[in-house]
Amino acid sequence: MSTTTLERPVRTVAARVERPEPPSALSASLTLGWRSVLKIRRIPEQLFDVTFQPVIFIVMFVYLFGGAVSGSTTEYLQFVLPGILVQTVVMASLYTGISLNTDIGKGIFDRFRSLPIWRPAALLGALLADGIRYVVAAVVCLGVGMAMGFRPDGTVADVVAACLLVLVFAFSLSWIFAFLGLVMRSAGAVQGVSLLAMFPLTFASNVFVDPSTMPGWLRAWVDVNPVSQLVTAVRSLMAGAPDAGAVGWSLIGCAALVAVFAPLTVRAYRRKA
């Protein structure tokens, strides 16, 4: 018999382990979020885009355009840093779709879906864990900016509020990329389409320059671009003079994104064979 060939016998069911009640929706989401955090710890390269990239952007843009745009690099830094903070975190949310696309192709999602847990828990867990990446991005941006001479006029509470607003926005936006991650065929396709959407969102905005010199058609877009609203809100918060309108519009934008894309994403996830 096959047993005789074993060096050590494999014994499995000493006792029956009864199945407890399934975990709550929150508990399942947090457990799956914990999985993503473990993966970040295991593969720290995943954090490159939220650590080195913002450093390069800040240094490059400030010294490249600072003099030309604002007359001095210190003045430009004051203007551009909240913008780059927003850009970095918004770009980081793109990764959600790519990682979801690679992840979902593997057998482990079959296992998750064969468990009696709240269905969207795997999605929500991944999205929540990405919050850690956003926090890293925000801390790096602010740290580099401060080291280079960025001084927010607002209080610490204002700055924290500004960062929180960015995090909420990135979380809301990541539902779009999660949706793309589920419906597109390959991770490469997700990246391509997402980047295509990302350029008009981040560059055609008030992140790098004041839109007043732009042609009318572009200004029309920049003014309605949700990223511009967010950047205006973040700038105003960091300056200690919150622009209630921009903050309000940003939050409405977040709510709209989640309201539209969360159900779409969950539906796509349920259907994914």
């Binding site: 096959s2 069911v13 199945r19 914990w34 482990i108 079959d110 296992r111």
Partner: protein
């Protein structure tokens, strides 16, 4: 007992033009091992995915322990365990982390999860790999951690999709032991396999599936009996005498011999083993030299060949069809 753990009626799943599963009926008694045997692309995995609520059937219905897999999917998920064909653990996570994750997701507490993970690693001979990422595991270890993840709580019905494909004989034996242990503990197991000896070894009943339909069902003995009581294996000393030998076999045994891919080997169903003696005398009289001759119960390979008209691993013909 006539309690059915799994029952399927006319399950259908189509992918575009391809009817991957085309009216599968299954009835699996509780506490038994049921083997679903078929070549690649026969519809085994698709059937399992429907039974485990991962895929919605396009037609027919299925119940697991009385719960409908579509209408009562959540209840089904509370009763089953699944080990998919492809590693269904997280390759970046360690053995311990995977099992803790799985334990937490079925609802065990943090401390219970840690205890259960350690216990399973110990039982499955994986303790030394506990803190290594699964991607560095060998094929056999991967399969074992996969199985362990499926039984962090004892499932009432366990689905194993090709649990030993690609494993060396020793690892295969270990997986078989695990399955036997689980059944002894009261779990019903449905396993798919392309290995005929695996179905023979483990399964109480077997469904042979080909091109999306069940073409035969029964115990291993039933299936073998359907091909004839026993079969003749004849290896010729000189393979150029094959035509002559085949004619003699056909005349003496009154059956059609099978040509096997192996040169100089003839097999044929035998109704009465006594007649084989007559055959040997005639072979001697005609000057046909024998290298090896035997009468044995037919193997499942032969069953498959007889039922489907093609060999179990005959993929080229299938993909062309």
């Amino acid at each position: 007992m006539t309690t059915l753990a799994i029952e399927a009626h006319g399950l259908v799943k189509t992918f575009g033009e391809n009817r991957a599963v085309d009216g599968v009926d299954l009835a699996v008694r509780a506490g038994t091992v049921y083997g679903v045997l078929g070549p690649n692309g026969a519809g085994k995995t698709t059937t399992v995915r429907m039974l485990t609520t991962l895929l919605r059937p396009d037609g027919g219905s299925a119940r697991v322990l009385g719960h409908d897999v579509v209408d009562d999917a959540d209840q089904v998920r509370r009763l089953i365990g699944l080990t998919g064909q492809y590693a269904s653990v997280d390759e970046d996570l360690t053995g311990t982390e995977n099992l803790v994750l799985q334990s937490r997701l079925v609802g065990l507490s943090r401390s219970q999860s840690k205890r259960r993970a350690a216990e399973l690693l110990e039982n499955f001979d994986l303790t030394e790999a506990a803190n290594r990422p699964v991607k560095h595991f060998s094929g056999g270890m991967r399969r074992r951690i996969d199985l362990a993840a499926s039984i962090v709580v004892t499932p009432d019905v366990l689905f194993l999709d090709e649990p030993t494909t690609g494993l060396d004989p020793r690892s295969r034996g270990q997986v078989w032991d695990i399955v036997r242990d689980l059944v002894a503990g009261g779990t019903t197991v449905l396993l798919t396999t392309q290995y005929l000896d695996e179905a023979d070894q483990l399964a109480d009943r077997i469904a042979v599936i080909d091109r999306g339909t069940v073409i035969a069902e029964g115990t291993s003995a039933d299936l073998k009996a359907s091909v004839g009581r026993s079969s003749l294996h004849l290896r010729l000393a000189d393979e150029t005498q094959r035509d002559l030998a085949e004619r003699l076999v056909a005349q003496t045994l009154d059956t059609t011999p099978h040509r096997t891919p192996e040169a100089g080997v003839i097999t044929a169903p035998v109704a009465d083993p006594d007649v084989v003696a007559d055959l040997m005398i005639r072979l001697r009289a005609e000057g046909v030299g024998i290298d090896e001759i035997g009468v044995q119960r037919p193997s499942l390979d032969e069953v498959f060949l007889t039922l489907t008209g093609h060999a179990a691993d005959d993929d080229t013909e299938r993909s062309a069809a």
